[in-house]
């Protein structure tokens, strides 16, 4: 794993151990959608960071798209019936 390249920007007085970094990177890896395919195969820290950035960007885009969709749906729906539908759905979970 190229975690050695993840140089901490700290001074030596507050040293972050390489093991801590490795552990955090692998925790991050487990949160990525790719981990469902890859499983626990070791992946380079650089790849984990890249996949994480891509995942965050895609989630940001989804929030944008859903906001747009919701604004259009609410334009054609009375809030009271939207709220009723939401509550109905919530109570039948």
């Amino acid at each position: 794993m190229s975690s050695r390249r993840l140089r901490s920007r700290q001074s030596s007085s507050t040293r972050i151990t390489e093991d801590q970094i490795i552990e955090l990177v692998s925790k991050l890896q487990a949160l990525l959608p790719e981990s469902r395919i890859r499983g626990n195969d070791r992946v380079s820290a650089s790849k984990v960071l890249q996949d994480t950035c891509n995942y965050i960007k895609s989630l940001h885009r989804e929030v944008d798209d859903l906001s747009e969709r919701l604004s259009q749906m609410l334009a054609t729906t009375e809030m009271s019936s939207a709220q009723a539908a939401i509550i109905r759905n919530l109570l039948t979970q």
Binding site: L24, K27, L31, P33, T52, H60, A85
Partner: protein, 147 residues
Amino acid sequence: MHREISPGNPNPNPNPNSPMPGFCYFLHALARIQQDVAPQRSPGKKGRRIRRAAYASMAVAAAPRRMAWSRALLRRLRRRSASPRRKTITVTRKKTRTERQEDELRRLVPGGRRMDLCSLLEETGDYLQCLAAQVSLMQWVARSISE
């Protein structure tokens, strides 16, 4: 606290043991936006208001856990006008690929610039889970309304 991430989760609250501050906040915000009867609002404006409400509800939901990204996001949302970014030009040696990825991550995570590397990695994990949960929530709301 273990949070289950599955973007297709039909339950808006993946962890049934936690209260749903973000969920309620988001619905209240939607109701407020909808009831705002200023007639000349352009359609794009409403979408942007909903987007702000989405990020606000994420940050509010994370506030009890004292996450730095949540505080940074709330600060950013409360700033009315975009303050110009101070651009400092520094000449550095050519960065490695990993360092460039780290820079990009710092830009993507609210407050990421100020964090040490460990904090950045921890905060990123939490931010990811909250983003995914917010997306699930919005998909669920959209499904509920359209049924």
